[in-house]
């Protein structure tokens, strides 16, 4: 379903979703110089570059309680399942790279094992995307990894900014329902609108971006370069902070811990939290041995997971070219340069 929406009507749509549809609306907002997703009542303005944090937190929050436990001494422990509070969320302003990121997260948490916590939340989140028909950020590289600034993969609706109005393309049934919730605000698509959006998309695709030179060949090249001393050299400046991983739309490793909140009686929660393969102790064994004990091995791990292992397991690259790991790395480690350098080195 395709419709148009006057820009002046955007806030009305958001307000309608909140009232009639019981949707919690989230949109990018600028606070202290950082663009993050914030809950909104009715005011959404879609003029952000991209958010600092990707939208993966809606279905995969940084902290998830699995169950709570209580044990009175001498008695067996009592476990109480904690079902995720999964309100209906409509997330506005999601860029195509993050939409494709969602596709990858979904594969991880539904393919072999359907994670009940992820899925309980996921089925209640709708992504209203925004096409990137502006100059890309200097660190964007979606095109060279199979994506596009106008891709609708993983999104429920794709909005394209046509100046005075948005071209709204519903991609899923949920997207259609979101638009139907404020049906009167939307207008039919005219031939001129169709021409505008086609031109906007063509222009967007024509914008130059940095590029991973040969993403298709990356899996084989990374395999060949596994033992190369190049990794330690490229990771020389890495400080092991983990920002790249926490801000990545597809990184999903987690840790599970029991967090004790009371001792008599013993009480606590089993909690899943984001974990980070760039932390030095990520692969620390209880014996004290660490198979990935230097930054080179850990850089190799992350890059290979994106460009090789995920491809081997799921038939697609895990990296969607959002560029956050590149722009946010405090010391300038650049996954595009890394993959290109490896390919060049292997020849």
């Amino acid at each position: 379903m395709e419709k148009t929406l006057d820009k002046a009507r955007l806030n009305d749509w958001v307000a309608a979703l909140g009232k009639t549809g019981n949707w919690e609306v989230h949109a990018p907002a600028l606070e202290d110089g950082v663009w993050t997703y914030q809950p909104v009542e009715s005011e959404v303005s879609l003029d952000h570059p991209n958010t600092k944090q990707p939208p993966k937190g809606f279905a995969f929050p940084q902290k998830e309680i699995f169950f709570s436990f209580e044990q009175i001494k001498g008695e067996p422990a009592r476990l109480t399942e904690v079902k995720p509070q999964a309100p209906q969320c409509a997330v506005f302003g999601v860029r195509p790279c993050d939409g494709r990121g969602t596709v990858r997260m979904d594969r991880v948490f539904t393919d072999h094992v359907a994670d009940p916590y992820y899925n309980a939340r996921r089925k209640n989140v709708a992504y209203v995307g925004l096409a990137c028909n502006v100059t890309p950020a200097p660190t964007c590289f979606c095109k060279s990894v199979g994506g596009s600034p106008v891709s609708s993969e993983g999104l429920d609706i794709l909005l394209t900014d046509l100046g005075d109005k948005y071209f709204a393309q519903a991609v899923t049934k949920t997207g259609e329902a979101l638009m139907a919730a404020a049906d009167k605000l939307f207008a039919k698509v005219s031939p001129a609108d169709k021409k505008s959006v086609d031109k906007a998309h063509a222009d967007a695709l024509a914008q130059p971006q940095r590029a991973v030179k040969d993403a298709a060949g990356a899996p084989a090249k990374l395999k060949a370069a596994f033992d190369s001393p190049l990794w330690e050299e490229m990771a020389r400046a890495c400080i092991g902070c983990g920002i790249c991983t926490f801000l990545c739309p597809t990184c999903h490793c987690f840790d599970i811990n029991d967090e004790v909140t009371g001792s008599t009686p013993l009480k606590g929660n089993r909690v899943r939290t984001w974990d980070n393969c760039q932390f030095p102790d990520f692969t620390m064994h209880s014996s004290g041995h660490n198979p990935r004990e230097n930054t080179g091995a850990r850089l190799r791990q992350r890059v290979s997971h994106k460009f090789r292992y995920f491809h081997e397991n799921f038939g697609m690259l895990q990296c969607t070219g959002c560029g956050r790991c590149v722009s946010e790395c405090p010391v300038g480690i650049d996954i595009v340069a890394v993959v290109n350098k490896v390919a060049e080195h292997v020849g």
Partner: protein, 143 residues
């Protein structure tokens, strides 16, 4: 109609073994009446009290934290309380800096002979904490 229970502040008191802890014992054997709000934890020296103990006590829900040691010049380990004076001054400043009420963290010098003083310190602390209400800022939220 049920009677509303007056709020009773919970105090965690780190007492050095050589002076303050002994002082609190003296208060006990002398049958000095004082509020029972303080949970005493004996440490070898006030200088051994790490800022982490204090933060941990607040995180666990303590309404007030007291560190008490030997008088200056009387430390069993010579310098311990000098170091405590400096280090815990910094802790106090840092707590106030992030907006935690100043009265929640306190230090005292109480010798083994000062049972009466110990009782007074606790009594004063409880009275100063009562109007502040329960400590919520640093307390871990139980889910």
């Amino acid at each position: 109609m049920s009677e509303q229970q007056a709020y009773e502040p919970k105090i965690v008191a780190f007492l050095c073994k050589w002076c303050s802890s002994a002082g609190s014992d003296l208060a006990g054997v002398s049958r000095i009446q004082y509020p029972a709000n303080a949970t005493p934890i004996t440490v070898p020296c006030s200088g051994s009290v790490s800022p982490m103990y204090i933060l941990s006590a607040f995180k666990k829900g303590a309404d007030g934290v007291l560190v008490s040691g030997c008088h200056i010049g009387d430390c069993h380990y010579m310098e311990g309380n000098f170091l405590a004076r400096r280090k815990l001054h910094l802790v106090k400043e840092l707590l106030g800096f992030i907006g935690v009420e100043e009265n929640r963290f306190r230090m005292s010098w109480v010798s083994a002979a000062e049972g009466g003083k110990y009782a007074q310190v606790v009594k004063d602390f409880v009275e100063d904490l009562r109007p502040l209400g329960p400590q919520e800022k640093l307390k871990a939220q139980r889910t």
